[in-house]
Amino acid sequence: MSDLIRKDASELAGLVSSGEVSAVEVAQAHLDRIAAVDGAVHAFLHVDTKGALASAAAVDVKVKAGDKLSVLAGVPLGLKDILATNGLPTTCGSKVLAGWIPPYDATVVTKLREAGIVILGKTNMDEFAMGSSTEHSAFGPTHNPWDLERIPGGSGGGSSACVSAFEAPLAIGTDTGGSIRQPAAVTGSVGVKPTYGGVSRYGLVALASSLDQAGPCARNVLDTALLHSVIAGYDPMDSTSINSPVPDVISAAKRGDIKGMKVGVVKELGGEGYQAGVRSRFDESVALIESLGAQVVEVSCPSFPAALAAYYLILPSEASSNLAKFDGIRFGNRVGDDGTKSVEQVMSETRAAGFGPEVIRRIILGTYALSAGYYDAYYGQAQKVRTLIKQDFDAAFAKVDVLISPTAPTTAFKIGEKLDDPLAMYLNDVATIPVNMAGLPGMSLPIGLAPEDNLPVGLQIIAPAMADDRLYNVGAAIERELLAKWGGPILGLAPELAGA
């Protein structure tokens, strides 16, 4: 197997632009890796061999012509199957969209293509991004490369798994309540949810519009920052897009200096309910941060214990409306149209057959929470709790520069373990959800393995809105120390995959 697959994205980009290696060779190496291991990992729903090689060849033409290339030109990437791709299937992990080929590209996809990034294919996910394990994909679960019997996190398990299985150095995820950060944590990779409005949502199939945000996944902080810089920026097609300069995440990722910074540990995100190994690795990180010259203080965010509940009212409410369009009329599958049934019946049968149980649960829950008699008690109240959470963050950031917590309460659990217990599944996102509720940027950074199960643990770093660069600065400082301590990337410790 080519050693190209173990290289960082920034290094690959350098090799391609200098002409040492062709982008086609890089793409082919990764396609070979996918062919070898994805049978076991199942990170991809659709591999676009032809398209990938064609866009790699286009980069090589530019290299030969001496054209100026973007920072990640020729680097392969796995794209979460929730972003619309012109001419490529986009399923959102759902049967209801099986076979649908969008006639347009998401803005993020346009930016990737313009940057010469080579899209290898579409990655697996929980159906419509509802889940924390990728088990809710209609096309079968993705397996964690650290232990194939375990989940790779979710909803973006395909994106985190393809990065940690060396099938792609980069991936795009989307994060509504932790779907980039929690998978990064349980697979030993880096993932960032940018500030809400920092990356265009145009073409991102909406789960919960006021919470969704696309972001970068990679194996180290600098690669993540490079990808972040490619996809971020104002887009008039997304009304909630922020029209101001993208924070300089690349410089921050190269700086990694936290001397004199104030770092807050969120009291409510830790302790009881968090696995012992998660807590011990987190505590070590706190000590490490202090040793780098930052001041660590504990801050309290008293509304956070209600965040999960508020989230599971707001998300299903918005989702119940966003998912109404999947009715088998304009696109996607249609079920039961035998020429005798009414459109009402056919829509109902299409949706019943097309949606999995978790999607149905959340649509029913959201329909209930928005109903005339319950709106104030549920949706309205949840939106007020959301204000309280935002106020907690505002108060905290008046005292500190960034906040930290464990990304997820546990390491990767076993496939099937929580599948029919929605409440247990929802608890995986308890630490990541408040960040989405307030629209803030958050990163998950690998900080070691839990001693009891030798599985990766993630540190969550949270910054104020549009201060995404702080995530990278803090992440780079910690990463530098840990790489020195480990003698290389943590993913080097993951078992070799069979077939490779």
């Binding site: 009329i329 109902s348 019943a352 935002k390």
Partner: protein, 98 residues
């Protein structure tokens, strides 16, 4: 906050246009009931002087100029449709009037 019955689930499923088989209603009802019990914690916070937050970004007045952009061709528009006739989306007979 009240519990959720099988009848409630059936009514909500109808509103949401999902044809849930009768035998599955009970399972959904008990799961939804458990979730609703858990999320009821939102009402434990004092929010009497708190405004509801609908958007995480505090911006207003985001407008587009009234300038025509690019539309799809009919072929593109209809490309994903399950049934097409006469350059239109073909749908089963409509019962309800709007």
């Amino acid at each position: 906050m009240s519990g959720i019955s099988q009848e409630d689930v059936a009514h909500l499923a109808n509103l949401a246009r999902i044809n849930i088989p009768t035998k599955e209603l009970g399972h959904y009802a008990s799961q939804l009931d458990a979730i609703l019990n858990a999320v009821a914690v939102v009402s434990s916070l004092d929010t009497s002087n708190v405004a509801a937050m609908s958007h995480p970004v505090p911006m207003t007045n985001v407008f587009r100029e009234d300038i025509p952009g690019v539309s799809l061709t009919a072929e593109q528009a209809l490309s994903g449709a399950p049934a097409v006739e006469d350059e239109r989306f073909r749908v089963p007979r409509i019962l309800d009037e709007e």
